[in-house]
């Protein structure tokens, strides 16, 4: 693409600081087309980082922002941020310039700068705009007043894995995102992020079957990441009850939800967040559904579940327990009183074995058994217990029976171990607790004495051809019958829904007895009635129910707001890494086995219902979380959280850098100043001593929009310092570093000392200096004011050493006072170094531009006296700090001057 509009009449300005902005505005006001190229995502430059400016103490941003906005909206100026000059050819009057526009990964035509994406981004990196003191996200606005106000993604490398976890999760929880946050110890943020797709992070983090973990690409390398175990960490390490309740505008719509299980409560959560009034009807005396009455307390403590349900109630959801729809409330009344209904009643009915003697006392149904135990109802368990079935419910029944005092517990399963639907960890835990498993066995008859169970007859099975479920069909082995002495049998075979009232609503059911819905939306055949969870899918897992509830909530919201009920975008299948990719990852990431979660000792834990799994410590959590392949890269981890949140759909992950070619008649270089690294001046301890900071860091600490919102605190103990020392000429006027005087630091320090006083009246400042260079208009008077009104003392003398007072973290400065010739020491709470400033232009850029730099790296001018703004190449002009050390008014003046020279150059003058 070549932009040749107005050819000779265009000017390129390099650098979007105040000098570049001013040069651009002047040229644009003269009618020239201006391309303003800036490396960072926003114009504003160094001045934007300043809190205030000397000697007027004007707020820097207040006087700069109008210029930034003017540059952005000027019809003659085209802002090219995130851009760098790559090549310059041609000559004065007809330069051809190649510009690389670096991918921002955000479509700026669409981005409104609202910042919702930023809030959700889990990647925290140091904020360069705040001199690395604060942090920003991987997707970010360069600063609050950025111009253009557009977000960019700091994407530095591709993720080594395929984030199969997210695709495998029925709720598509942002696994890499929250794992990253856990690795960083950001527990609250992690909890909130999980909660976006699952309102039960702590609960599901204990009981999930974790399909994510099965899909985890790290599993192809060593061991999959312990995603489920990590998921409970935020709830363990941070108090869920501190989660703030958002304020939401009410829509006035009412929704009835039947069933307070994971599906119903997930739907309730989402609908409440959209501003609808939600009432949940629950037949049982406690909310939570299977989480409450199906999963034993030793796996999911009631307190944890209670907190997570409690938060949903805080959102304004009303849960009416002990109310059975169809019995206590007529379905017709629901239809009349509410704008929509969600049916999420689960599957709480047990299934019969169909074996002779099943009605003898001592033979129980599993799901009912667990429910009774969970609700604290009286349950009689004998000494010798057999549990029939091989699913998680069977294991739960067995382990519960053990905890209720059974001496001998045996699980009887008709297929082999490989076919057991229960999770392996659960089976192993049960066996550790002394539970026996009889495989390839099924009961055929129960025998009682005095109406009490005493014996169970079983038959051995063998495996035949696969049946409809795909598993091998168990076939009884003739003549293999045998008997087991038992006093209790718990049949845990499966669950069905109790759907009587659903029929009354006119909703059609499948042959299996489940509710029929549009699987994409959760809508039933009756308008305004939606369903999801086990009642639709048959018995499934908690996270499936959560996903179902959320899907239905989305549809219900659309229905209530009169929007078309849209399909959810279909998820993709979890991807595996190819063999080559696995090798690549192995080369990139060191192998490391997972961190095992600690458990309560077996002997003790079966005494009662205490939680078995103990959770990770913060250190363990970080160690395990760091194993996540997505999280081990710098910058954006490509978790797509921003994409999910961006309303105008502006995120473009695969954006590429773009190169454009411009025709310009002249070039103005205004690339500004860099900061000299002063950690090499070891006597001052920068980088080693916490309370020694640079003047630019100080600037960000006092800026109202800075990382501390303008509160100046020192790093060691967070105290607001009342005594501050400023050391001048750190790296400047110093033959070991920079020979030259940086020109602005004397006034800069004076201003900062004044600001310290303004922020915290009474603060005393001492400024150590060699010469107090105050040559601009009102500068001398400014210094006089600092002395008189702001407790600022000027001490002529160069400090030689700084020591830390170990008692209070204060700093002891040793210096020779030139006036008296004495060596003195001075204790202060904070030291601010006036670091030398350097021209910000690389040799590479100078080479590209074909201009020369002097020995200090400033742009060389053709004749210092008579052509002070002309570089060594005709048609290229320089201004601002890259030209020579100078303050803002001088830079602005030079900028206008360079604009004048450029105008002269392209209109024929010399």
């Amino acid at each position: 693409m070549s932009k040749s509009e107005n050819g000779r009449k265009a000017v390129l300005v390099i650098g979007g600081g105040i000098a570049g902005i001013q040069a651009s505005l002047d040229l644009a006001n003269m009618g020239f087309k201006v391309y303003l190229v800036e490396k960072s995502p926003s114009i504003g430059g160094r001045m934007a980082q300043l809190d205030k400016t000397f000697p007027t103490n004007d707020c820097a941003m207040c006087i700069l922002a109008p210029k930034m906005i003017e540059a952005n909206s000027h019809h003659n100026i085209e802002l090219l941020t995130c851009s760098e000059v790559e090549k310059v050819s041609g000559e004065i009057g007809k330069f051809k310039v190649k510009i690389r526009r670096k991918a921002s990964f955000v479509d700026w035509e669409k981005c409104t700068g609202c910042g919702l994406c930023v809030e959700g981004c889990p990647v925290i990196v140091p904020n360069e705009f705040d001199q690395g003191i604060g942090s920003r996200k991987a997707i970010y606005l360069y600063f609050a007043q950025a111009v253009p106000k557009k977000c960019v993604i700091d994407k530095r490398e591709d993720r080594p894995c395929k984030a199969a976890c997210m695709d495998a999760c029925p709720a598509h929880t942002n696994v890499p995102g929250y794992i990253k946050l856990i690795a960083e110890g950001q527990y609250k943020a992690a909890y909130k992020l999980i909660r976006e797709t699952n309102p039960f992070p702590a609960s599901v983090g204990r009981v999930c079957y974790a399909p994510c973990q099965e899909a985890c690409n790290r599993g192809q390398m060593d061991e999959p990441l312990c995603i489920r175990d990590l998921k409970r960490v935020p709830g363990d390490q941070w108090n869920i009850e501190e989660l703030e309740v958002p304020v939401v505008a009410k829509t006035g719509k009412k929704v009835a939800i039947v069933g307070a299980g994971p599906a119903g409560l997930s739907a309730a959560n989402d609908l409440a967040l959209k501003g609808h009034s939600v009432t949940v009807f629950e037949a049982l005396p406690e909310p939570g559904g299977m989480l409450r009455v199906g999963i034993p307390e030793y796996r999911l403590p009631r307190k944890v579940l209670g907190q997570e349900i409690g938060y949903i109630q805080k959102l304004g959801v009303e849960i009416k327990t002990g109310v059975r729809v169809g019995k206590d409330v007529a379905p017709a009344k629901l239809k009349k009183d509410y704008d929509a209904i969600f049916v999420g009643i689960g599957a709480h009915g047990g299934m019969k074995l169909g074996v002779e003697g099943e009605d003898i006392s001592g033979v129980m149904e599993g799901i009912e058994f667990l429910r009774d135990v969970s609700l604290g109802r009286k349950v009689n368990v004998g000494k010798k217990v057999a549990v029939i079935g091989g699913g998680n419910t069977a294991i739960d029944c067995a382990r519960t029976a053990k905890r209720l005092g059974a001496k001998e517990v045996t699980i009887v399963y008709r297929r082999s171990r490989a076919e057991m639907p229960a999770s392996k960890e659960e089976v192993t835990a049960a066996e550790h607790e002394g539970i026996k498993i009889e495989l390839l066995t099924t009961p055929t008859r129960f025998f009682g004495e005095s109406k009490k169970l005493v014996r169970m007859e079983c038959v051995r099975m063998k495996l035949g051809e696969p049946d409809a479920s795909g598993r091998p069909r168990p076939i009884p082995v003739k003549g293999s019958e045998f008997a087991i002495a038992v006093d209790t049998v718990i049949a845990a075979l499966g669950q069905v829904s109790e759907t009587d009232f659903v029929k009354e609503l006119g909703v059609s059911l499948s042959k299996r007895g489940t509710v029929e819905v549009d699987v994409k939306t959760g809508a039933t055949n009756v308008e305004g009635v939606f369903a999801g969870g086990d009642v639709v899918t048959g018995p499934a897992f908690v996270i499936d129910a959560v996903a179902e509830g959320k899907k239905a909530a989305r549809s219900i919201h659309q229905y209530l707001m009169g929007q078309p009920i849209g399909d959810e975008e279909p998820g993709k299948e979890p991807d595996k890494l190819s063999e080559e990719e696995v090798e690549e990852v192995k080369a990139r990431v060191p192998a490391r086995n997972k961190v095992e979660m600690r458990e309560e000792p077996v002997d003790e834990r079966t005494e009662d219902f205490r939680e078995v799994a103990l959770g990770y410590s913060p250190e363990e959590a970080t160690e395990e979380a760091m194993r996540c392949l997505a999280g081990c890269i710098e910058g954006c981890i490509q978790c797509h959280e921003c994409e999910r949140r961006c309303e105008p759909k502006a995120i473009v992950y695969d954006m590429k850098d773009e190169t454009i070619t411009l025709d310009v008649g002249a070039i103005v270089v205004a690339s500004g100043l860099g900061l000299y690294d002063v950690s090499s001046l070891t006597e001052y301890g920068y980088g080693r001593i916490q309370n020694v900071i640079t003047a630019m860091e100080f600037e960000r600490l006092t800026a109202a929009s800075g990382p501390t919102m303008g509160v100046l605190r020192r790093a060691s103990d967070g105290r607001i310092p009342e005594n501050i020392a400023f050391i001048q000429c750190v790296g400047s006027r110093d033959f070991r570093n920079k020979n030259y005087c940086s020109s602005v630091c004397c006034m800069h320090a004076t201003k900062e000392a004044m600001l310290a006083f303004e922020h915290h009246p009474g603060t005393k400042s001492a400024i150590f200096y060699m010469d107090m260079r105050a040559v601009g208009k009102r500068f001398q008077e400014y210094i006089a004011r600092a002395k008189k009104e702001y407790n600022v003392t000027y001490i002529r003398g160069r400090p030689g050493r700084i020591e830390v007072n170990p008692e209070n973290g204060n700093l002891v400065i040793w210096y020779e006072e030139t006036v008296s010739g004495e060596v003195k020491c001075f204790e202060t709470e904070l030291v601010v170094l006036a670091q030398a400033m350097v021209p910000q232009i690389t040799k590479e850029l100078a080479r590209i531009l074909g201009i020369e730099l002097d020995e200090d790296g400033f742009v060389k001018v053709r004749d210092k006296l008579v052509q002070p703004l002309d570089t060594t190449r005709p048609g290229i002009f320089a201004c601002g700090y890259v030209h020579s050390p100078r303050d803002i008014p001088d830079s602005v003046t030079q900028a206008s001057g360079a604009a004048g020279r450029a105008a002269e150059a392209i209109t024929g003058g010399k």
């Binding site: 040559v775 006296l865 001057g897 360079a898 209109t907």
Partner: protein, 564 residues
């Protein structure tokens, strides 16, 4: 001018969700419904982002489909978005001043996040007020004024000449006015220039030649500007001579009248002892090839940085070092001491120059205001006594020439310039720029620019940069050929005006003049100069001055709407 169709307002209200920025806290649909039933509102709608392509086209579509003649957008802030929405109105054929902005983000959703009901209520209130004002909005035009394609540069020193050349090279006619009979200004007296020790004459002469030869530059020597009337685009200039040549019209003006060095008044026996001279006098001697002496002592900050004259004149330290350097260079056996306070060798070149001077053997001794150097001698200076900090005692320096470094002080011309151009002086008597930080080469009044030491002491290099800067500002309007005046400006109801003149005194832009209307004297506002700041309107004791777009009627309508 009154458009009849405008007297029947047809108002369209566009309420922005700003994603969830507003939408999550303000019930936008309710607010839209509310707006719909306000008087004269014929259309109201909501947009996810009114500033998006869709939003902008919704405004344009609304204007056409509903024949709207007023538009209200309730969204974020006019600071960033007003130009955008105004442009949308213009593109749909509506005068852009028929647009009214209501800020329901900063003023509602952001500040009332915790009370969405109240935020919604307040948004409705603000929209009601906006609609009330919109009803009374009138179309306004920005007057376009032609710009005479010529410039006046006052001052024929190096800075003025550079400014004139820059403008002339761009093709504009330039009138360069110099009070002396020769171009060159203060530099004519200067020997050599730092940092390259180039002879000043080698800079001044060729420059003056170039100026004289340039076809676009008309040089008026031995002339002063007597009178300037008019405003940006057409300043009518009269010089103090007679004849046609002395009257002309220019579009913009650059002031470069320079400054003059302070003449000491008896300090250190200046004027009493013959071997006490100023730096400029030293320069003149050296220029003639006269020796400076074997033992030269210089004292800096004579008359500067003292309670009576607090400022630092920026260039004197370098002047002293330069002359010391030159003395040592021509006579390495000479002894040169510079007695100074802070040494102002800022930047790269000056610091290097300072170091080289030390290498050449120039001695620097620091003195303080509390312990000034003393002159010893009978009839002429023989020694200078000074307290030496490092030796921690007083020492006496043999001295055959004592050179006093004095600051630049505002030229007497500044007073005249201030009167003729109606521009202000600062507390030191230098010319006052529009903004110390970001508008250093502009005056508050449009079309007049400042460079060189008339604003603040500057060295040659800085002065030349400033010359280019002022020229570039002055070239802007000349190049465009026209300037637009602010449409939102003040106007006078002459019947109410008592002619008291309060407004004239207060106007920061010199836009107001008291004129006679027969018997009566009334305030007259020059719309071309008025910036619409409203100072006069607020101060007028008769209530005779109003602001376009912020008329009393409009503001009262808003207030009434709020309390209705």
């Amino acid at each position: 001018m009154e458009d009849k169709s405008l007297s029947h307002p047809r108002i369209g209200v566009f309420v922005c969700h700003c994603g969830i920025n507003i939408g999550a806290y303000v019930k936008v649909p309710d607010v839209v419904e509310y707006a719909k039933q306000l008087p004269n509102v014929v259309h109201a709608e909501r947009n996810l982002f009114t500033c998006s392509e869709e939003g902008i086209s919704a405004i344009k579509k609304g204007i056409k489909e509903h024949n709207l003649n007023r538009v209200v957008v309730a969204s974020c802030t006019p600071r960033t978005h007003e130009p955008l929405f105004r442009a949308a109105c213009e593109e749909a054929g509506l005068n852009k001043y028929l647009f009214e902005f209501v800020n329901i983000r900063d003023q509602c959703s952001w500040v009332h996040m915790r009370e969405p009901e109240k935020a919604t209520e307040k948004a409705s209130d603000l929209i009601r007020m906006g609609v009330a004002k919109a009803r009374l909005l009138q179309p306004l035009e920005e007057i376009e004024m032609k710009v005479a394609p010529a410039a006046l540069v006052i001052g024929g020193g190096v800075v003025g000449m550079e400014a004139a050349l820059n403008l002339a090279n761009q093709g504009f006619d330039v009138h360069l006015v110099e009070k002396e009979s020769e171009l060159g200004g203060l530099l004519r007296s200067v020997n050599k220039l730092f940092p390259a020790n180039q002879e000043a004459v080698k800079l001044v002469k060729p420059l003056a030649e170039k100026v004289k030869k340039h076809l676009k530059i008309k040089t008026h020597l031995s002339s002063k500007v007597k009178q300037v009337t008019g405003f940006i685009g057409s300043f009518n200039v009269t010089l103090d001579g007679k004849g046609k040549d002395n009257e002309f019209t220019v579009g913009t003006i650059v002031v470069a009248v320079g400054a003059e060095p302070l003449r000491p008044t008896g300090q250190y026996s200046y004027g009493k002892m013959p071997n006490v001279i100023t730096q400029l006098e030293l320069e003149e001697r050296m220029k003639k090839g006269e020796a400076a002496g074997q033992n030269v002592v210089m004292i800096n900050c004579v008359g500067a940085r003292i309670p009576e004259r607090t400022y630092c004149s920026r260039i004197c330290c370098m002047t002293a070092i330069k002359n010391a350097f030159l003395i040592k260079e021509s006579n390495p056996k000479a002894k040169v001491w510079i007695l100074h306070r802070d040494l102002m060798t800022y930047g790269v070149d000056f610091e290097n120059y300072y170091r080289k001077a030390m290498e050449l053997g120039v001695r620097f001794i620091r003195y303080s205001l509390e312990r000034l150097p003393e002159v010893i001698g009978n009839g002429k200076v023989e020694k200078v006594r000074v307290y030496h900090e490092l030796l921690r005692r007083e020492i006496e320096l043999a001295c055959d020439t004592l050179v006093l470094t004095t600051p630049l002080v505002p030229a007497a011309d500044n007073q005249d310039i201030s009167k003729v151009l109606k521009v202000s002086l600062d507390e030191f008597g230098f010319l006052l720029e529009a903004h110390l930080k970001l508008r250093p080469v502009e005056f508050a009044m449009d079309g007049i620019y400042i460079c060189g030491s008339a604003r603040w002491p500057t060295d040659v290099t800085e002065g030349i940069s400033q010359a280019y800067a002022a020229a570039s500002k002055a070239a802007g309007p000349l190049r465009m050929g026209f300037v637009k005046a602010e449409a939102i400006n003040a106007f006078v109801n002459e019947d109410e005006c008592s002619g008291c003149g309060v407004c004239e005194v207060l106007c920061p832009y010199q836009a107001i003049e008291i004129q006679s209307r027969g018997e009566k004297r009334v305030s007259h506002i020059n719309e071309a100069v008025c910036k619409g700041c409203g100072t006069c309107g607020a101060a007028c004791p008769s209530g005779a001055i109003s602001m376009h777009h912020f008329t009393d009627e409009q503001i009262l309508a808003q207030v009434e709407a709020l309390f209705s």
